[in-house]
């Protein structure tokens, strides 16, 4: 008759894990427990081009011009409910003046069926880039936020976001 007790112990242990996960989620600390969505920043090398679809975007939009890291910050949560609703924040310190402004901003999810999830085209009528939106993710993937200024400079930030629930179908 030990089965019910084992079950109760198991449930208690799981409940405790849940509480710890909730706490760590709230404080943003700890990456040891499995989370539905986890974020990693790249090392010194940029994430490699993973497939032809992303290469095509680079060819069409950036024509193999150099892309520097910096001036743009991509922010995504350490945990989200599912791949259908993944919040994204993109900020930039680049100016928004008539002389120089962020003219284009691209958001690429490497392993989505259509990797160029959205592209923004701006004028200096807008304030400094501080955007929020919600996107879908099919699976764990590098995410690229790439800004092009009116002078032609390209600035980027990259995050690897782990997700388990397919939001694209």
């Amino acid at each position: 008759m030990s089965e019910p007790i084992e079950r109760r112990n198991f449930l208690r242990a799981v409940g405790l894990l849940g509480a710890v996960a909730a706490l760590e989620g709230a404080t943003g600390a700890g990456r040891t427990l499995p989370a539905m969505l986890r974020v990693t920043r790249p090392g010194p090398d940029d994430p490699p081009i993973p497939n032809e679809a992303v290469q095509k975007i680079y060819d069409e939009r950036f024509q193999n011009r150099p892309i520097q890291r910096g001036k743009v910050t991509l922010d995504m949560p350490t945990m989200a409910e599912d791949g259908r609703y993944v919040p994204v924040i993109i900020e930039s310190e680049l100016p928004m003046s008539a002389e120089e402004y962020v003219k284009h901003l691209y958001l690429i999810v490497d392993h989505n069926p259509d990797p160029l999830v959205t592209a923004f085209h701006f004028t200096p009528a807008l304030g400094p880039v501080n955007l929020q939106t919600r996107i879908k993710m099919k699976r764990t993937s590098w995410i690229r936020a790439i800004a092009e200024t009116s002078t032609g400079a390209l600035w980027a930030d990259y995050l690897k976001v782990e997700t388990t629930l397919n939001g694209c179908g």
Binding site: P113, L126, R134, K136
Partner: protein, 111 residues
């Protein structure tokens, strides 16, 4: 879905001339990718907003390219230099040719 395309634009209550304000836009739309099936295993056809145009008065201030990779009932927020009193409109067009729009009045606080 009779409410499809309903567009809500939220701007701050009190705006002073020259403020940089946050504009938040919500559009009701299924944004179907075409990859999911319904309960009867029939494919739900792709149905999503592709083009967005933002106008401030008579000036086109931004355009967005959207795909079905944008979540259902899209939300986007951005910053605007509120330098004149004028309507701010957000016009979307989906892959079926439907056009939707919403407008908010940018007005400056009098006191």
């Amino acid at each position: 879905m009779p409410e499809t395309g309903r567009t809500k634009i939220v701007v701050p209550d009190r705006i002073q001339r020259g403020d940089t304000i946050r504009v938040q836009v919500l559009v009701q739309h299924p944004m179907d990718t075409g990859f999911f099936r319904d309960a009867n295993a029939n494919i739900i056809p792709a149905w999503f907003i592709k083009d967005v145009v933002v106008r401030y008065g008579d000036q086109e201030i931004a355009t967005f390219e959207w795909t079905s990779g944008i979540s259902r009932d899209p939300m986007v927020s951005f910053q605007l230099k509120a330098d004149r009193e004028a309507p701010l409109s957000f016009v979307t067009r989906d892959n079926r040719g439907n056009e939707f729009s919403g407008t908010a009045e940018i007005k400056f606080a009098t006191t």
